[in-house]
Assembly symmetry: C2
């Protein structure tokens, strides 16, 4: 098996063809990793997403430094992974967020169903959680691809 480092363009291609990854945040040096669905915006080099308010959002509001991981695994010898450091940015109701909010909603309209899991009502909860729209502004992307040697 040989592992290649991906170029920046290849990393962006992986993000652009994916909609599912993992989002890592941290509080007091305790990392927390959860699955999430996203839409990559190549023009701004950021990921748009949507979530019910909960532990993940609470932690990212306190510490906006995050890490995103996306992988495509065929088997142990053939896989691709991209890891990106980024910054959590919440889209509020303020006038200065209007452009980003519109951009996020245009993505959501293209994929009207993919963000529904973020609002899935957990059993046992009496009321659905409030929700937020956010983006992860990416500032460092690295990627690796493993290919089984012939």
């Amino acid at each position: 098996m040989v592992i290649h480092e991906l170029t920046l363009a290849q990393c962006r291609d992986v993000l652009g063809s994916s909609s599912h990854g993992r989002l890592g945040c941290a509080r007091a040096d305790q990392p927390y990793v959860v699955p999430f669905f996203f839409q990559y915006d190549s023009t701004g080099d950021c990921l748009y997403s949507f979530s019910a308010i909960g532990q993940k959002i609470d932690w990212m509001r306190d510490n906006p430094m995050v890490c995103v991981e996306v992988d495509e695994v065929i088997d142990q010898f053939n896989w691709t992974s991209v890891v990106a450091f980024g910054r959590y940015e919440e889209m509020g109701d303020s006038p200065q967020d209007e452009g980003a909010r519109r951009r996020a909603h245009s993505f959501f309209q293209h994929r009207s169903a993919w963000w529904l899991p973020a609002l899935g009502k957990a059993t046992g909860r009496e009321e659905p959680h409030a929700s937020v729209v956010y983006r992860i502004a990416l500032h460092k992307l690295t990627g690796r691809r493993a290919i089984q040697a012939k």
Copy 2:
């Protein structure tokens, strides 16, 4: 779509039937998430794995608080995810690590191929990295399963 919380037994079942997940560590509140292959040991409630020495191992040696995420995604409406907090423990050469080291190697013999990616030689590197055997001692498991409503 309805989301169910998994029981502890169901979380363990997911880990036991998986060999691939994501490992999150943190340094100075910067999370770092990477894919990894593992073997779950239900008797000790820990995950055994193997890695080349690099950023992930350096960070976990400095801060052993980690988070493991494992998911099975059929589509946006049908998925299972388990998130576990744990502690990084490296298997050294010391006599007190002998029992754990033997246990790790017994797992590796059962799945002789799965850990090879950890030692995959990246192109451009002149020498393969040194490697370590480690386990993640799990102390909190939570899980969720989404099922599309009929």
